[in-house]
């Protein structure tokens, strides 16, 4: 449908290497007529299917709940497509409904009942908090509303105080306030995909409540250590004790729907070194050819299942693009059929391509 509109006028940047990073996320996409057109269409479809009139972003693949992560994604995407009205609607819903804790963090899970939204779990999800803070910072950069920045700083201050822990590797992000550290406070269960690198890079310029850059570097180290033979795919969850790191015992030993976001976040980074790590994924199981990616058992290396959805395949295609400039398959630009999570990854992937590797968006589509 829309893929025909994707043009490669951005290829003028030349070379196979990333262009200079733009200030606001989505700036390159906005500046390119064809990509901007696709993004706006995809966003309209996304908003129609997943964003309620109140501003809740619905995860239709997860009993129709909303969560801090979906709200955060929605806020960032709204800024990227320059949709201020919808951004504010999602933001306001997020603050009114999910910011119900004693701090400035967000309850991770909201169920939608006949009586209205019901916070089902007040524990936070750090990636959701970080995504929301990122969305607020990007909104401030884009539209200059100081309240967005001050709200982001409050969230970041609480992340810094409650969720940053020192380990043998350096400061890490605890996935949530409750349930991820041992009684003695020395062993932690971490999620490498909670390191939202572009978010950490963006907030580091506006907030000093934690050393966000250092946290990002430690995230890379956690990621490196988690990628082991035979598959070299990172597990969704890892246990860290001192300088010891292993796949987490209380979660499936899988590379799955969490970790699939890691190459996407690396690609959205403005750090050249992180971008290169994306290319390294291209040779891994499930990324090296169309058909993947797969949920893979990280110990045996066996495939558990196929990640069905264009968003997942788009992330794999993104890694191949960044590795060998392989054109992005046009069929992965079709929107309207996939559930929330896959659709979200799909739009973010196109954003990453537009920002960093526009040459992979081919004209044939």
């Amino acid at each position: 449908m829309l893929c025909a509109a994707v043009i490669v006028s951005m290829m003028a940047a030349g070379g196979v290497f990333p262009a200079m990073a733009t200030e606001v996320i989505g700036q390159s996409a906005r500046d390119n007529e064809a990509v901007s057109l696709w993004l706006k269409s995809a966003w309209r479809e996304y908003a129609k299917r997943f964003v309620t009139a109140d501003g809740a972003v619905i995860d239709d693949g997860n009993q129709g709940i909303s969560h801090s992560e979906s709200q955060g994604y929605g806020m960032v995407l709204a800024v990227a497509v320059d949709d201020r009205e919808l951004f504010e609607r999602i933001r306001d819903y997020t603050f009114e409904t999910l910011q119900v804790r004693k701090d400035h963090l967000f309850a991770w899970k909201v169920e939608h009942t006949d009586k209205g939204p019901n916070v089902a779990d007040t524990n936070n999800a750090t990636d959701g908090d970080l995504l929301i803070a990122w969305g607020l910072v990007e909104a401030y950069k884009s539209w200059g509303e100081n309240e967005n920045l001050s709200s982001a700083r409050l969230v970041l201050k609480d992340i810094a105080e409650k969720l940053v822990r020192d380990t043998g590797f350096g400061p890490v992000l605890l996935p949530g306030e409750i349930g991820f550290s041992s009684g003695n406070g020395k062993e932690f269960t971490l999620n490498p995909s909670y390191w939202v690198y572009p978010a950490l890079e963006a907030v580091a310029r506006f907030d000093t409540s934690a050393n966000w850059e250092e946290i990002a570097v430690v995230g890379e180290e956690v990621l490196d250590l988690s990628q082991r033979a035979p598959s070299y795919l990172p597990p969704d969850w890892v246990d860290v004790s001192g300088i010891k790191l292993d796949p987490a015992e209380k979660f499936p030993l899988e590379f799955g729907y969490n970790a699939i976001r890691i190459p996407l976040y690396l690609a959205l980074s403005t750090n050249a070194y992180r971008e290169k790590k994306v290319a390294d994924f291209a040779a891994l199981k499930g990324f090296d050819a169309p058909g993947g990616p797969y949920v893979v058992h990280v110990v045996s290396g066996e495939t558990q299942s196929v990640m069905g959805g264009k968003g997942f395949a788009a992330v794999a295609a993104l890694t191949r693009c960044m590795d060998t400039s392989e054109p992005f398959p046009p069929e992965l630009l079709r929107v309207g059929a996939d559930p929330y999570y896959s659709s979200t990854l799909q739009i973010f992937t196109v954003l990453a391509l537009a920002e960093r590797y526009p040459q992979c968006l081919s004209q044939e589509g």
Binding site: A13, G14, G15, V16, F17, P18, A19, M20, E213, E214, V217, E220, Q227, A229, Y232, A272, Y273, K276, A279, D280, A282, A283, L284, D288, M322, D323, T324, S325
Partner: protein, 760 residues
């Protein structure tokens, strides 16, 4: 030994980049046609192979009346028995008198031949038989000792006109490689110490970019190249990035995932290496080595590279005693404070000298965090006996990295190690340092210069065993910004991430220059630094790291750094004691009383162990001309709090931009190649250095405020603090003097008031 599935063989349909093309159809080395044909059998048609010395044209230039060059050459196990001759190709200055100029060649301390040096000789190619058993597997020492005498001139300046240049293309070990020209699959990693040098004396290292357009594999190949440069101490690498392996002498680094190698036409069989996925293949005639590394994926590739690096680091240095010592001293002997090092330990031999200017070179390696302040000193206890009836005008001079640091008069009996000479440390750099000693030995007869009589009899005797250099306490403090080779790839103390190496995307010359600098500094520093290449279609220089680009393609902090060097108004003119005394600008011809007074003050200051300014005229030097290369480093400023924290040794985030620039990318490439060929990388100093192609000299200056970082366990250690503070004061002498004057006036005033109030 476990054999793995990895080797190279041909297949029918290979792509252009097929490795075997280079290995099965080797190009005849340029030098091969010029080797000594006398060692061929009458019917033999095979070209002889040559293993050149690992030294550049500049390093093979024997200058002065007596010049000595010592180098190490590695003989691999499978070739050592084949080496039958050492071939020398030379050219001598016209000024050299043929009847008293000669070149002696030593292998592992044993003379294997001598040449009478005649300028303008037709046949300049000589070969010497190597006695059986003289060469051993591993490193062997080869030493050249040239003696020249001037035909008509008896002055000291005339001694600089005397030289013999060995041609690196045709100087080395020659042998019959045998009938087979098939590539040999090798198992021994030691072979990476014998990468043959090319006709220019450079070590060609080709990073083969295959299949994938991603640059990540070039980062990996660069890491491997660094490890090998460290392993073999390859100071003058000629690093190329090409889509296919090279020809002639050198090394190809080919790496990728198995599928990438396969798609590019590299066929994988079995290898003899015990590192899975690694193969070493050598072409017999050229000696070119291909190092092939493959794995299932990039992360496994990283692990193989790490394994290779750790294996190389663990391999012992083997060879003859002299060869091992020559290799160990190649980048300078490591210096410990308070411990005397004899010149013989530095590779200097005792010698009798019958000329007019004796010069002796050696190298030292100072700690990475050595604080280059003016305070502190080394003492050189030189034992030189005057054997002839020398005049009173003779002097000893000491140079470090091209700068004159200290001098002393020679007595009638020479110089005794009991009266050591103080050498200020200001001219030394962290890491590798070149030191030169010059001793003049003129007689009253030299003023008359009866050429027919020339020099008769020995004039000096240098005892290397009884001469020593000793460094007293070092201040251990890192100073930024600083372009010294140890700091060229600067990273923040708190940051372990790779240094970003940034070049314009469509500028292969700048890219190759950047990787060449990375590999050369790794060799010189004996340290592998993780780097990440970034090619940008936009002007480069906005991100910290190493930036290599022509001046018109710089941006951000890198552009600012360049502009600062050509904007005189923005320069912070260095003051210091030399500025205070007006010692910066005493011209040679100025014989006024004031000039004499300043010269006297300068010699006094030198005697106290302080370095004088090299006398640079900062008004003009930093304007770029063709093939000049500017090295400049700038860092983010630190707040007063951060400065103090850094001074006390705690990590502080500080970004550094090191810009390497010139008028055009080819200028940069040619200039950097010349810099490496002349072994001038260690001469970079201050926060800005300019390599002048026209003179081969390096001019250094400091334009920005230095930051000090403690690096010792106890930064408040009294001796360290004392030396650092003294160094800082000596750099800001005028301010210090004014401060002290103001302090004394204030003290006097307070004292006066106190006395008055007490009624006295």
């Amino acid at each position: 030994m476990k054999h793995h599935m990895f080797a190279v063989k041909t297949m029918p349909l290979v792509k252009a980049a097929l490795l075997a093309t280079a290995m099965l159809v080797p190009a005849l080395p340029a030098g091969a046609q010029e080797v000594d044909l006398s060692i061929l059998e009458p019917q033999a048609v095979r070209p002889m192979a040559i293993r050149r010395l690992s030294a550049t044209t500049d390093q093979l230039r024997l200058e002065g009346e007596m010049a000595e060059r010592t180098m190490a050459i590695y003989a691999p196990r499978d070739e050592v028995l084949k080496y039958r001759k050492l071939q020398v190709d030379y050219l001598t200055a016209v000024s050299a008198a043929p009847e008293s100029s000669n070149l002696a060649v030593f292998v592992n301390g044993q003379v294997i031949g001598a040449i009478e040096l005649k300028a303008g000789e037709q046949n300049t190619l000589r070969s010497f038989d190597l006695p059986p058993g003289l060469l051993v597997e591993g490193f062997n020492e080869i030493r050249f000792l040239a003696q020249h005498r001037h035909r008509v001139d008896c002055t000291i300046p005339a001694t600089y006109e005397l030289w013999t240049a060995l041609n690196p293309a045709n100087t080395g070990l020659v042998f019959d490689p045998g009938p087979g020209s098939q590539p040999q699959v090798l198992s021994d990693l030691d072979i990476l110490r014998s990468i043959p040098t090319n006709e220019n004396g450079a070590t060609n290292i080709q990073l083969v970019q295959i299949g994938s357009t991603a640059i990540g594999n070039i980062d990996r190949a660069l890491a491997v190249a660094q490890s090998i440069a460290v392993f073999g101490k390859y100071l003058n690498p000629d690093v190329r990035i090409q889509g296919r392996p090279g020809t002639g002498a050198g090394l190809d680094i080919i790496l990728g995932t198995r599928s990438e190698l396969s798609q590019a036409g590299y066929v994988i069989g079995s290898s003899r290496s015990d590192i899975p996925g690694l193969a070493l293949v050598r072409t017999p005639v050229t000696g070119r080595i291909a190092l092939i590394i493959s794995a299932d994926n990039r992360l496994a590739l990283d692990q193989t590279i790490e394994t290779l690096a750790s294996r190389l680091a663990a391999l012992p240095v083997t060879g003859s005693r002299a060869g091992v010592a020559a290799f160990a001293n190649k980048f300078g002997r490591k210096v410990d404070t308070g411990r005397a090092i004899t010149l013989s330990q530095l590779g200097v031999t005792s010698k009798r000298f019958d000329g007019r200017l004796l010069h002796q070179d050696f190298s030292l390696n100072l700690p990475n965090d050595f604080f280059v302040g003016d305070y502190g000193k080394a003492t050189l206890g030189l034992n030189v006996d005057a054997l002839g009836d020398l005049s009173k005008a003779n002097k000893l001079q000491v140079f470090a990295n091209g700068a004159a640091l200290a001098s002393a008069d020679l007595t009638r009996t020479g110089i005794s190690s009991r009266n050591p000479l103080n050498i200020p440390l200001g001219g030394f750099s962290p890491g590798y340092n070149e030191v030169r000693i010059e001793v003049s030995a003129l007689t009253d007869g030299d003023a008359v210069c009866n050429v027919a009589e020339q020099v008769s009899g020995d004039r000096l005797y240098l005892s290397a065993e009884n001469s020593a250099i000793e460094f007293d306490t070092f201040a251990r403090m890192r100073v930024t910004p600083n372009v010294a080779v140890k700091n060229l790839l600067a990273s923040a103390p708190s940051d372990t991430r790779p240094t970003l190496v940034q070049v314009p995307a469509d500028d292969p010359a700048s890219l190759e220059t950047a990787v060449q600098l990375v590999v050369a500094s790794a060799a010189l520093n004996q340290e592998v630094r993780p780097v990440s290449l970034v090619l940008s279609s936009a002007p480069v220089g906005t991100r910290p790291g190493l930036i290599v680009a022509p001046v018109d393609r710089l941006s951000g902090a890198a552009k600012e750094a360049y502009l600062e060097t050509i904007n005189q108004g923005r320069r912070a003119r260095s003051g210091g004691i030399t500025g205070l005394l007006g010692l910066d600008a005493i011209s040679e011809g100025d014989d006024s009383l004031w000039a004499d007074v300043r010269r006297y003050a300068g010699s006094l200051w030198r005697g106290m162990g302080f370095r004088l300014s090299p006398g640079a005229n900062p008004g003009q030097e930093f304007h770029l001309e063709q093939q000049d290369v500017l090295f400049a480093q700038r860092t983010t400023g630190l707040s007063p709090d951060e400065r103090w924290v850094a001074f006390m040794g705690a990590p502080v985030k500080q970004d550094a931009w090191t810009v390497v620039t010139g008028l055009g990318s080819e200028d940069i490439k040619t200039g950097v190649s010349a810099l490496l060929e002349k072994n001038r990388l260690s001469w970079l100093n201050g926060d800005t250095s300019l390599y002048k192609a026209s003179t081969g000299q390096v001019v250094s200056e400091r334009f920005s405020e230095p930051n000090y970082f403690a690096t010792v366990a106890n930064p408040s250690d009294w001796r360290n603090t004392r030396l650092v503070v003294a160094g800082v004061i000596s750099h800001n002498m005028l301010s210090f003097v004014l401060f002290m004057a103001a302090f004394c006036v204030s003290l006097g005033f307070v004292y006066f008031i106190a006395l008055k109030k007490s009624g006295r």
